[in-house]
Assembly symmetry: C2
Homo-oligomer: 745 residues x 2
Amino acid sequence: MIRNRDIICLDWEVGYFPEGQAGPDRYVHASVPGAAQHDIAIADGYPDFRLDGNYRLFDWMEDVVFLYRTEFDIPGMAGDEELWFVSKGIDYRFGIYVNGVHVLSHEGMFSPVEIRLTPYLQKSNLIEVRVDRVPKRHAFPQDRTQASDVVKPAVGYGWDWHPRLVPSGIWDDTGLQIRKRSFIKDCHVEYKLDDTMSMADIRVKTDVEEASGCKVEWRLFDASGNMVAEVEGPVGEDIAVALPNPKLWWTHDHGTPYLYRAETRLVGRSSEIVDTVESRIGFRRIRLVMNDGAWREPKEFPKSRSAAPAQIELNGRRIFAKGSNWVCPEIFPGELTEERYEELLHLVVAANMNILRCWGGGIVNKDAFFSLCDSLGILVWQEFPLACNCYPDDMKYLRILEQEAVSIIPRLREHPCLGIWCGGNELFNNWSGMTDQSLPLRLLDSLCYRLSPEIPFIFTSPLNGMAHGNYLFRWNGMEVFEWMNKSHCTAYCEFGVPGISPKEVLEKIIPEDCLFPPREGTAWEDHHAFKAWDGNPDTWLAEKTLEFYFRKAETLDELIENSSLMQGEGYKAIFEEARRKKPYCSMALNWCFDEPWPSAANNSVVAYPLIPKRAYYDVAAACRPLCASARFSKFQWAGEEIFSCDLWLLNDSFDSSGRYRISVYVCCGDGDMVHVLSWETPELQPNINIEGPTARISLPDWDTDRFNVIVSVDGHPEMDSTYTLAYRKADKVSLLPYRGMNITE
Amino acid sequence: MIRNRDIICLDWEVGYFPEGQAGPDRYVHASVPGAAQHDIAIADGYPDFRLDGNYRLFDWMEDVVFLYRTEFDIPGMAGDEELWFVSKGIDYRFGIYVNGVHVLSHEGMFSPVEIRLTPYLQKSNLIEVRVDRVPKRHAFPQDRTQASDVVKPAVGYGWDWHPRLVPSGIWDDTGLQIRKRSFIKDCHVEYKLDDTMSMADIRVKTDVEEASGCKVEWRLFDASGNMVAEVEGPVGEDIAVALPNPKLWWTHDHGTPYLYRAETRLVGRSSEIVDTVESRIGFRRIRLVMNDGAWREPKEFPKSRSAAPAQIELNGRRIFAKGSNWVCPEIFPGELTEERYEELLHLVVAANMNILRCWGGGIVNKDAFFSLCDSLGILVWQEFPLACNCYPDDMKYLRILEQEAVSIIPRLREHPCLGIWCGGNELFNNWSGMTDQSLPLRLLDSLCYRLSPEIPFIFTSPLNGMAHGNYLFRWNGMEVFEWMNKSHCTAYCEFGVPGISPKEVLEKIIPEDCLFPPREGTAWEDHHAFKAWDGNPDTWLAEKTLEFYFRKAETLDELIENSSLMQGEGYKAIFEEARRKKPYCSMALNWCFDEPWPSAANNSVVAYPLIPKRAYYDVAAACRPLCASARFSKFQWAGEEIFSCDLWLLNDSFDSSGRYRISVYVCCGDGDMVHVLSWETPELQPNINIEGPTARISLPDWDTDRFNVIVSVDGHPEMDSTYTLAYRKADKVSLLPYRGMNITE
């Protein structure tokens, strides 16, 4: 673990050269942290890689070597101090040279670099970092499988929402550090809460360099700054202390994400403070427990196992996990800043989400991400960087994976936001080909067991009972309403409905002459509107599906209107149905929250860099702790058809109560609202949904292709829900008579 | 690891006393290895616990302390030799005293005891072993849950085929050992076969006590005694050697279980041999791979994971695992001898079985079991001693489990028979209540990964795709033919059909006046004929089911005839249907092979101690590598009904070929065989079944309650199969006309 506060930044340059050449012909300014490719592109005046198809200009940079260099004079230091070179992350295979001396060869972007410079220092110094070519397991195919034997995000090798652009270089905080000869190398605070969560047994483990005659003092302060615990002990021994009645850390929707501040001090013989480490502690107990009803299945012989546990229990409370899949919000992770994380994470909270799944195709985020989730009360499901590949059982890969995991786990394990460790994405499905027997996953289970046993670990997502997909509103003739209503899963860990990006994004990334109508082979396709997934030319724009329900869009505005409507209604249908399936179902995470660059169409709900799509607001509404909800059997209805929907009061809140009067109306545009039904709910119980009546009405004969269903709660407009469904004129031939219809089907 | 060859046996006595008393009032002769209870029972003239309800006389012994003692003089030893006390297993919590000095307190029956006696020795010596009361997590309920926080077989606490009788005491080889001061403490031979299995890279790791100036020599001999490899190295370092073209170890049905002999010698300064360890090596590669077709599932969205791999791949060959569940063949494991194992294991081979699942409710067997499976070519699926309980996440249990696993894994890992490690039995089902998150299972995965990564590990059985049950011929109105034919599993790891025991067993265990008819509350019930499973009063005797198909038995012989028929036909139906489902299905293991004491009725195919039931021969026939088979949709047929069966040629052999002519006949008793159909098979391909036509015939009007179906292979009587099905007179009312019948249903 490298402590952040005292890294002295340096001025860097970077150059590139083909493998075999001695060094670069020239150097350009380098942003550190950043990405070597981006530095070169800026210096050479490349157009913005985020626009049009410009990212292709970076292709050649995969196969050159980058050399970073920085020169510095020795800063002023006291006699008991030494200078170190530290880096939190260099991507991916690299060597480090100090004044021409080769001091390190390393593979792995998540393990920190810590070099004591003392043996190499001169008055004026040069540090060089040589970053090898992008690792590729094979030359062809040129896709994610090239990353299947490295601990490096596969997403940069190309994905259905990410261009092929593989980052390289110094990507996290890097610079000089002045350390006393005696210093705290590592400090790990463990605690165990008793069953009533009224006592925290705290254990502090410190690892100290050259500290003879020193002792360790540990102090804990509450959020108001009052010291609530104090203990000291000899160096090298664990220090234990009990904290009665700790204030618990909760997700923002269930309480306060309460954080204590801890201070670990190394105190010398004369009571002088030699070194201090500060950290934050949130007391909470997190478990994955069996979903309600899951033990009753399977019922028949021959009998298999019950579904894997997918119900999050936080501090003894079974909570419904509402959230999203987080993808790296920048193509070059080196450019991520605390501010970038913060603006997006505030949107997560505002969307009533309490969890993010940090998907294994991307990076393990920088420290700031986890600190922000700690303070904002967002749980994190953290995957190791394995996704959609068959990572091998070979010893070399296992060695690097162990090295990287042994860096990642201690870095994150103390964050109260950390809710689930996961081996990686979709590894037990045929497009990956790993199994329960795969040694990389057994290794990760083993390391998490040893280093972080208090946090649940799952081998991959989905496990049995959990599910991923679908990612389209309509697929093989089946609509989101159909597949979702009939499904029976403990956790919907990924599901997507694509939507077009807002006009301001499209106008930026697509040349004006290509803007409308969207066509394959243009920037629309570069930005994932066409042929993005599953060989389907219609993804992610889904024009054919739009035209199945609505008239063909004649303007870009009309296309945006329809696509946004479909994405929003699709997401509402899934989130709300997942909630209606509570308590058997305990989780709904859409694919995906953000995106790493401006797409033309995508399943994301926030467009790059920070533009909420209509679906964002729909999802936020569907995730309100307490809200009215209507369940539909299909999207499109016809005039004079018997329209029906099931009424629900959805409730994930533990301090809810009261009775409500809920009314349903249908209306067309701004026209009159037609009252369908009113329902007096019974008394609300904490965390329990209420299933209401089915509302039915013969739809009026409107002249429209869409209509609204309004579910309104008397005196509580904040609980209202509105849906827009597709409509077609009465089809006299196909309509069945009212009597005898199976209207509940 | 304790080497067997040089244990000096001692004469032991044992006594008992209530907790709190200083010691026993008297001592009686003790068999070591054995069980303290049994010694007391013999000394006190108890009647045979295997007969009637006599086992109940042992109840009180659960709650006394046993004290073993032995006296001995120091044997003659050379100057560089020392005396040790060793034991391979003492059950369960115990203390050891040498000449009155307390030298060890220990919990755990699978970790060996090794005590250097030198500091304690006198001319004449006394060793005492104090064995605590039987561990119980709670006083009530008095069942297997009392064993849910110990690493001790749960089966002794009572099971549906095992009386409540919890063993205690010294249960494995125990005595004195003379060791040189320098000796080989441990020697571990690892190897890795390359992909073509034409090269074995061998690595020998030795752990040596006080061996300065020594070197290690390692030599390998083939089965004819020729030395095929020789290498030496300094003490403390791994020795590596490559063996080209190793002869592979195969299960008996796929080749020769070829064994090499290895000699590890500790050689002193003057080339004198200080110590020698002999071991056997079988070169083989074992994997659990995905079942054929399993990657294609699940098909629909939302999509869960694919089934867990359950296909055994031995030396690159996907083999069908045919076998059985092995339960400890004695109630007191201490009484198990090599001879007892051997006679049973020969029956396993003769039944065409290539695998035994050593179920987690029982012990981990003694060394002889594994050595015999090595030489006989039987794979072993070895479970840790966890079964049908929720073993806790608490630190004390985890510490003992780790200690025991760290003894078990190195003891067994070099046996070529070892095919699968498994955490335990049915732990992911509601009657156990453990999950993927349970720390005991994550610990076992982690230890097996570290100590034995070349052997597959599964958390429990069943995993998803695999299945257990049913255990009855007819259950909830559904027959074995129905549930088995419609099931879709990768592995049937447990399934049972109960059958009555042979007459010679019944006459021994049941008082003559209770022999017929069987009644609840008699020795029949003590021996599991009634109320044994699932609250069903009819298990395991299943008289109601017999009476559903046949007339009520009027004699014991008739009852035995009918019950044996039903068990045999039921087992044939399951084994053969599992084989017909190959390659998606890859495993069929019936519950169970043997039994620990004479039952009145049980799912076992071999009655205690070594009496094959009729079902044993039926199972052996159903497991023939190459045989004709008929698939039935139901058991009972009526006169004039259209009888139908699907013909198959089942083939698990890799060197099979040829075409066959197969004919089907029906007949009643010794009456004429009525020819139904003949089928010329296409050319047989290795390891591929052939599906043939459906044979149909309107059944004659016989006067019988059973008839035979004979599937005969021209010129190959060894491939014939005969089935006996139930029959009833034509029911004129219910019979449908021939035309229009859905006869394939």
